[in-house]
């Protein structure tokens, strides 16, 4: 299990940072406003779960899916997304998506047909969403985007893509898919045109693109680079890509060869990323990487996200017990709250 966790740690540890926002207009349920924490759970042990907290993490409720639906969530929950008043919980190991009412957590549907190792969910239209899927992780040629009809909650088609599609971000025109490479490695970002509904470009970036943000006409892609154990260690890189100039890479920021940054986020005009227990901050207009960290985290981040002026860090601790989430005020870096959640807390879904 440890080895498997190791692989998971390798392939899954790098989560992405764009925030999922969804505004509901329906009557307020118990989970109408707050943060869903996706607790991945251990490989093969079927102990994934969803926790729910208010945005300050003053109160946390664990195992909300299990409690509401009187049923286990499954094996290795990877992420949560929102569409049409529903939350889509992507469960990689069980190769399924649990669809629940986003304010009550009551199960609406389970999508399992057409999904093999699904990773992330992103709505791209009123009744359409895309889900990145690895297919068989030992087969490098069967990766795809599943097209989900969010009205009927079935997979209605799929689009073949390159190896290891992971997190997605979008603006009004395009959806970007980072190919971190699943259990292997890749260095591509797929550009999907939301109007033409087809893939229009593939951008080559650095090794293992792990997180992206879109800001003011630019796509920022953070790549961790190849880790040392591959025998082919490469430096982390940050790419600034001009969306109004044929996806040209305008600037490449190179890290040291042994530096493998992760978890790119944006707040206002500031980018944030995580590197070896330190959080760095740079302005989108900066021409060099920051030398000095913005703050430090006393632990090992499993994921880091920013939402509404707050920085959230999840920590899996020893991976064999309930992990924690720490919430910091981005204005001064002070700790607002630290709370125990479920086993291997990863993706966060912000909901209001």
């Amino acid at each position: 299990m440890k080895r498997i966790n190791l692989l998971l740690a390798l392939s899954l540890i790098i989560s992405f940072t764009s925030c999922k926002k969804h505004k509901t207009t329906e009557a307020e349920g118990e989970f109408a406003s707050g943060v869903f924490i996706v607790n991945e759970g251990n490989f093969g042990q079927g102990n994934a779960g969803i926790s729910f907290a208010d945005k300050d993490f003053s109160k946390v409720t664990n195992n909300v899916f299990e409690t509401v639906n009187n049923s286990a969530l499954g094996d290795q929950a990877q992420s949560i997304g929102f569409s049409n008043g529903k939350a889509y919980i992507v469960v990689t190991g069980s190769s399924k998506i649990e669809v629940v009412e986003d304010d009550t957590m009551e199960r609406v549907a389970t999508i399992s047909s057409g999904l093999t190792n699904p990773r992330y969910f992103e709505p791209i239209g009123e009744h359409t969403a895309l889900v990145t899927c690895w297919g068989d992780p030992t087969d490098n040629t069967d990766d795809y985007l599943a097209i989900v009809n969010t009205n009927s909650d079935v997979v209605s088609g799929h689009i073949s893509v390159g190896l290891g599609p992971e997190k997605m971000v979008k603006n009004d025109d395009y959806l970007f898919v980072a190919h971190k490479g699943a259990w292997s490695t890749n260095n591509k970002v797929t550009v999907y045109d939301l109007v033409l509904r087809q893939i229009v470009n593939t951008i080559t970036v650095g090794d293992r693109p792990n997180s992206m943000v879109v800001k003011d006409g630019y796509l920022w892609v953070l790549c961790s680079g190849e880790p040392d154990w591959t025998g082919n260690e490469t430096a982390g890189q940050l790419f600034k890509i001009d969306l109004n100039n044929n996806f040209n890479i305008e600037t490449t920021f190179d890290f040291d060869t042994t530096a493998h940054p992760d978890f790119l986020s944006v707040s206002g005009n500031d980018l944030y990323y995580y590197l070896n227990g330190k959080i760095y901050k740079m302005n989108t207009g900066d021409t060099t990487l920051p030398n000095q960290e913005f703050m430090t985290y006393n632990g090992m981040a499993y994921n880091m996200e920013i939402y509404d002026g707050k920085l959230y860090i999840t920590d899996a601790l020893d991976y064999q017990q309930e992990g924690s989430v720490s919430v910091y005020d981005l204005s001064d870096g002070h700790l607002i709250n630290q709370k125990t959640v479920g086993i291997i807390p990863g993706d966060l879904g912000f909901h209001e």
Partner: protein, 606 residues
Amino acid sequence: MKHQLLFLPVFIFATQFMSGQKLSRQKYVLDSVFIEGISSKSVFEAYPVTSLPDSVSNTLSLPELLAQNTAVFVREYGKGMLAGISLRGTGAAHTQIVWNGIPVNSILNGQTDLNTFSPGGFDEIFVKKGGSSVSFGSGAIGGVVILNDKITFSKKFKIANYTKLGSFKTGINRFKIISGNQKIYTKFSFQIQKSKNDYIYPGYNIKNENGEYQGWDFALINGLKFRKHQLYVKSKISKLDRETSRTLYMPQNGKLLTGNTYLLGGWLWQNKYFDSRTELVYLNENYQYYFNKNLPGNSQSKAQTLLARNLINIARKKSYKLMIGNEISRQTGTGDNTGKHIRTNFASFLIWSQYLNKLNYQLKLRQDINPGIKIPLTGAIALSFPFHSTHRLRFNASKNFRLPTFNDLYWIPGGNPQLQPETSYGVDAGYDYQRPDFETHITFFYIDSRNLIKWVPGNNQYWHPENFESVQYSGMELAFVKKFKIHKNWALSDKINFNYNRAVNLKTGKFLPYTPQITGLNVFNVTYKRYHFVYRYRYQGKIYTTTSNTKFLPAYPLHNVSLAFDYGKHFDMQLNINNLLNTYYENVPSRPQPGRYYEIILNFKI
């Protein structure tokens, strides 16, 4: 792209048991002492030993054999899948499996998958609890499981065939011939097995998909005696192809192919005051893991051990004995995740035994020399006070060790060549009472293990092992056997085993996960003429699944019944109903075991 999920992960497990040991003083007769090897039972007379009856083992898997006769905890990933043993709360890598005196735990991960051993071919199987590094080196911390082929020189000719047919399209056939006279001994044993293994998880509408397995197991034992000399060859070759079954929540389509070859050649030279046993051993283990059985890509690992050893027993009087052992081994491990590495080890040990009137004692010392790693001097003391013909007190203390495995040292990524051996001190004290119709055995134990190797997450995004953890194991083992002869046609007996153990992480004060604190077994036998009825009740306490002890698998009771008909010398049959109440249970999270299932066993003998 190659993918390598490790075959047997590093777990921490639990528990074991004892019963049926003999107090008999005639064991101290030197003749039997003279020919004993390192794994003969009398070497362990001060230890709690559970012998497993060979009559039940002919078609059982090793996990089934242990579960039916001991309260040992076996951590099995669903029926027929990977299975590791846990003695006294320690991990699967802390119990050595010993084949004819040779420790055979994998040098890659330090463990033995119990389902790769078919016990039916062996003449003697027993579980010995407590540290045994002096005799068996690395890894014998919780105890050892010993499987012996015994060569005897007397006129005999036996042929037997055992067939088991059971639920889930399970079939096993074992054929065995034993033949010999005053000069020659031959045993041949061959087993094939196959199972669809598609049981339904009780209470769920889910089948155990991708759980099929098939395999064979071959053993040939030959002995030749002329005057003071014996030459012998022992061999065991097995192959097991298993799909890797789904979990409760996760479909799987992988498979694991396992092959083992064990060869041993020996020369025993017996004299009046000493005997010398020289052996050459070759062990080969081979694994191929397919994450997707339909795709060609796999990950492979294999290991070879070449070992030469000499054991000398010296005993000029009947009251003492000195055993001197020397061995040299060369282990080669090759894997897609580790590369190729070689480890050479030299070991010398002394075991001094003295039998006084009301006190028997043993002193043991062992030193390993290994160019790559510093191994501490290990030693043990064993005391036995047979103060009455039916009562005995015993005490053992030992220092033991476990070497880092090749995976710990060389796994890419994370392998840590700087790892040091785990060290462990263990003591146990016990009382035995034994009469033909009643036995009681009580043991208290305490083990302090330091520098335990644990894989921990690192800032560099991958895990690596460190000499990280300190654990205290403590507990109690109870066994009672009562036999009644009610009438000339009726006999009853009842056996109770109860284990309590605490495996506590010294840093956190919490119990180790994946280890039950309590296991119990009650076996009730009724014999009426040629009919034998057995009712087995097994209880397993809750098993924590988090290091914070916040979650656990619930305790469960398990009921099995079996009825056997003995039709004279040449034929008997047996009907088993396992998990009578169709209880849902698992020893590993999300790995359900079968509900109620049936087996019929047909035995022919000449």
